[in-house]
């Protein structure tokens, strides 16, 4: 949940920029770079917000129904974990902040990668000497 919260605060932008840089260093073909960048962006867009929810989904039972209203207890193995379980559901809303960041970084990266590719092709076509 901490990761999800911090990502929404903009950490996703730095993290994704690092990923894009590593992708550019590690792969030379444009389509591979774009595919990897897209995959990383989608992971950063969804997983930090819905991952925690997925992780608690198996806890749901008649005595535990996590909801964003914070209504009701969530008893798991005799212990009350309602506070965190309910917050995890609300965390999903932060996708409204996180997804545009991830998609925005991908778009910027796609433009930069395409320009790099064009420049390198032009340089390759230029006659030597």
């Amino acid at each position: 949940m901490l990761v999800g919260s911090r990502f929404g605060d903009g950490l996703a932008a730095l993290w994704l920029a690092c990923c894009c840089w590593l992708i550019a260093l590690g792969w030379s073909r444009l389509w591979i770079r774009l595919l990897l960048a897209l995959a990383v962006s989608l992971i950063c867009a969804f997983v930090p917000y819905f991952g925690p929810m997925l992780s608690i989904s198996h806890l749901v039972n008649p005595k535990c129904s996590p909801n964003e209203g914070g209504v009701g207890d969530c008893i798991v193995y005799g212990g009350e974990v309602g506070g965190v379980a309910h917050k995890v559901v609300s965390l999903g809303w932060r996708i409204i902040e996180g997804a545009p960041i991830a998609i925005g970084i991908f778009v910027v990266y796609a433009i930069v990668a395409a320009i790099i590719e064009l420049r390198s092709r032009r340089q390759a076509l230029r006659p030597l000497g």
Binding site: L11, L54, V71, W93, V112
Partner: protein
């Protein structure tokens, strides 16, 4: 190669600037909260409380409430209050029970809505064109408020919608409805059934017995608040309409994109939408960025009123709960056996007329408020979640605020407002931190 690294420096710099600005904003929001967590909303808190209780209860199964309704003992009142206010606040539960006593559960649904009335051709046509479905539908409970003088008749009927539950695909696809969805989400299910729900309300025994036609309101929390706004925007032309929406921590999605413009223009006429939220909750930022129609600045047709409850601190996600909001609303106007007076928000603001009229029973429940300020001091001093610090308002602000608060018999400032913690609370109003203008007492 040189070009590539130069380009990535730009990306890193942009990302770093973005991150720093976002981190600073988040830090400012979490660390510089005022120490006096109070607001002008205490005057209206009890008015909103029954709807907050209904929105909270909407998270509970319909079957349980149906059983309680069938026994006819009014057990649903206790059940609803227990769901809205934690057991640790037993005194507040007692207070909330008194406020919520006139309400009775009528009916509800938590199943997928195909067509509630198969004789409805429009619904059948819409159903034939439906998208994929998850087998889940919007959960709603219908409550009716009975009159103090005539228990068999009701004066107001409320439809309360549930918010998001867990990893429910139907709930989350509905939350993302604004971006277009091939799914038969809750907004679409409600769109084809809203008129049938209105007819079911009109067929209620207490509705038919009422001499004056009861007004219909809708309420809900988060996703439920979005759905509550949607039913007000999507009711069929010429039929009964929703007079008012009380939306708690509402979703920025209202489903307005699904309603044709002519019907939308008709349904927003004289409509009131009160958006009540806890300051700093997770959706307050989302609404500021991507609020669907109607916008918060709409002053007439529809009249959108934003009500900020600044009575707690915590994480964005923690502040989003309806249980917390309902408890705070109850706490703001109650102090160990001393319920404070409250009023309904004004029905006529400027020249904008609205359908909604506060129930005349409000007057029976609302007290004079003469004890309000004395008791308010104890309210601020009592709660562990609130801090009371010295933050004296300047005399000029006090003078202005005194007029906002109340007037003595000779028209001058009321001396009771001049000192003590209450004046700190009023200082928020004078500083323009809160969105309410002085309002007349509901008649």
């Amino acid at each position: 190669m040189r070009f590539r690294f130069a380009a990535f420096r730009v990306i890193f710099a942009a990302a770093a600037v973005f991150w720093l600005s976002a981190a600073q904003t988040a830090a400012a929001q979490s660390n510089n909260d005022p120490d006096i967590l109070a607001a002008y909303v205490y005057r209206y808190a009890d008015y909103y409380l029954p709807y907050a209780i209904q929105s909270s209860t909407a998270y509970k199964p319909v079957g349980t409430l149906n059983t309680m309704r069938d026994t006819g003992l009014g057990d649903e009142v206790d059940y609803a209050v227990q769901n809205a206010i934690p057991a640790s606040q037993e005194d507040l539960r007692g207070h909330a029970r008194k406020i919520f006593k006139p309400w009775r559960y009528q009916f509800g649904s938590d199943a997928y809505l195909d067509c509630l009335d198969w004789a409805d051709e429009a619904c059948k046509t819409a159903y034939a064109r439906r998208g994929w479905n998850f087998g889940s539908g919007p959960t709603y409970h219908v409550w009716a408020r009975t009159r103090a003088t005539a228990r068999a008749a009701c004066s107001e009927v409320s439809i309360a919608f549930r918010g998001t539950v867990g990893l429910s695909g139907g709930d989350w696809y509905s939350n993302l409805s604004r971006f277009g969805s091939p799914y038969d989400d809750y907004y679409k299910q409600l769109q084809r059934n809203v008129d049938t729900i209105m007819r079911q309300i009109q067929n209620l025994d207490c509705y038919r017995r009422a001499v004056r036609k009861p007004q219909i309101v809708s309420t809900g929390h988060s996703l439920g608040a979005g759905l509550a706004q949607f039913v007000a925007l999507a009711t069929k032309s010429g039929g009964p309409r929703v007079a008012k929406v009380i939306a708690f921590d509402p979703s920025p999605v209202t489903g307005a994109h699904l309603v044709n413009k002519a019907l939308l223009a008709e349904n927003v006429q004289r409509l009131v939408i009160d958006r009540v939220y806890e300051s700093g909750e997770v959706l307050s930022y989302a609404r500021a960025a991507v609020q669907e129609f109607p916008q918060a600045k709409s002053r007439c047709n529809p009249q959108v009123r934003t009500v900020e409850v600044k009575a707690a601190r915590g994480s964005m996600m923690g502040l989003h709960g309806i249980e917390l909001l309902a408890t705070n609303l109850a706490d703001l106007t109650y102090n160990e056996g001393n319920p404070l007076g409250y009023r309904a928000p004004a029905t006529l603001v400027g020249s904008c007329d609205v359908i909604y009229r506060p129930d005349s029973d409000e007057q029976l429940i609302a007290r004079s408020g003469s004890q309000r300020l004395a008791a308010l001091r104890r309210v601020y001093a009592r709660s562990g979640s609130r801090r009371l610090v010295s933050n004296p308002a300047n005399p000029a602000a006090r003078a202005a605020v005194t007029w906002v608060g109340s007037r003595s018999s000779n028209g001058g400032p009321d001396p009771r407002l001049a000192a003590g913690p209450a004046s700190n609370a009023f200082a928020l109003v004078a500083g323009g931190a809160f969105g309410f203008t002085p309002l007349p007492r509901a008649e």
